[in-house]
């Protein structure tokens, strides 16, 4: 039994092994892009919105309102980043129910990559908002004694993000696999339903924490959160 889809090699292209994590990530990307393209391709101001476009608007505006509640101001760049995080994690976790689909989020490599993205995004948004000096000064707050702790805090955020998401999704998938071997008729369905719920919650938590980290780096009055 493999615990990570990284170990499942599906193809070898020009000598490069293509594992299940990358392949299923492409599937998720393709689904998201195709759905977006299909719904928004005939989007014109003079055409009244249909139910699909309305659903998409509800999702996008929901993400935007959540971000605005935390950052106390609109930010499209933050929406692009955090919204993509949420949608990618959510769709990956929802596709858990598709037979044969290995959620990329059950791979520690994926969650690490996402956590690294957040880890890089925090200083980028912070520098954009406060300037380089202003951002670096936050590491000395409230006192220069806190500098090492702030640096450790910064990295521990990324690690906690990665481990939390990976642990939850991987454990759900592993438990479902184990139950499938013990009681293949009823419990896997219940666990899959639970996995869907857990996956959506984890996507929400991941996106919200990323927003909080970035907003703490951008908003001068907000204290950093661990």
């Amino acid at each position: 039994m493999t615990l990570s889809p990284d170990e499942i090699i599906l193809f070898v292209v020009w000598g490069v092994p293509l594992n299940a994590t990358i392949f299923h990530t492409w599937i998720v990307m393709g689904v998201l892009t195709a759905v977006s393209l299909l719904i928004t391709r005939k989007l014109r101001p003079d055409v009244p919105p249909n139910r699909w476009r309305t659903a998409l608007e509800v999702i996008v505006q929901g993400i935007q309102s959540q971000i605005e509640e935390i950052t106390e101001g609109p930010s499209r760049h933050l929406l692009y980043f955090v919204g993509t995080l949420f949608l990618f994690v959510a769709v990956s976790n929802l596709m858990l129910v598709v037979p044969g689909f290995e959620p990329p989020t059950s791979s520690l490599s994926t969650t690490t990559a996402l956590a690294l993205s957040v880890l890089v995004a925090v200083p980028l948004f912070g520098i954009t908002s406060r300037g380089l000096g202003g951002y670096l000064k936050t590491y000395l707050e409230p006192s220069f004694i806190m500098l090492p702790f702030n640096i450790i805090s910064e990295f521990s955020r990324g690690i906690s993000l990665a481990i939390r998401l990976y642990g939850n999704i991987m454990s759900g998938a592993v438990i479902a696999a184990i139950l499938l071997t013990i009681a293949p008729f009823f419990f896997p369905v219940v666990m899959d339903l639970l996995g869907l719920l857990t996956g959506m919650i984890q996507a929400y938590i991941f996106a919200i924490l990323a927003t909080v980290y970035i907003s703490s780096a951008t908003a001068p009055k907000h204290a950093s959160t661990t």
Partner: protein, 251 residues
Amino acid sequence: MSIDWLTVAAQLVNFMVLVWLLKRFLYRPILDGIDAREAEIAERMQVAVRAKEVAKVAEAEYRAQVSTLQSEQASATDALRHQAEQEKDTLLAEAHDRIERERKAWQTHLDEEGRTFTAKLHHAGGHALLELTRKALRDLADEPLEARIAAHLARQIGSMDAELQNAAGTPDEAVVTSHGALPKPIQDEVTAELRHRFPDIDLRFDTDQTQAHGLVLQIGGAQLAWTIDTYIDGLNDLMADQLMTATEQRA
């Protein structure tokens, strides 16, 4: 639980690509569409607000016009009512005048009819009374009526000798008028009686169809007469008394 750093790098690239793809095909179109729709809604609301203001102004104008029209209508109605009342009064006055004229004309016509009827009644009654008297005289006394009339006139002349002479003065001519021509013996009798009182007078006998039956003697300024009219008047009074008595008894 291991990390494949090649996969991590690939996932980082994949994530960046996904951010770009969703930004290109999801967020921008959706948010731009929402912004455009909000702008359109805001523009429509501004247009609606302007239209509402214009409508309010127009409403105020129309209300003022309606108020003016109502006041004009009220004054016009009052004027028309006043004119109608004047016309009604005029028409009523004209109608009253016309009715009064017609009533007077009718009354005149009735009076004329009454007079005509009375005259006819006088004439018919006189004629009937005369014929009855003549027949009664002939049956009872075998004497013509005209002879009795002439005798009556002669008695009057005799009884009123002095008064008649004073009233007549010194006349040259006397005229005896009757309804029809008098018989010769009666003319002679009247002539003899008159010549006895007025020896030098010329006597002439005339007839007048409009005069009642009887004799009328005109001497100068004096006049002696006996006609049936006096009896007809008495007969009318008698009939009126009888009619009134009958009416009272019936009541």
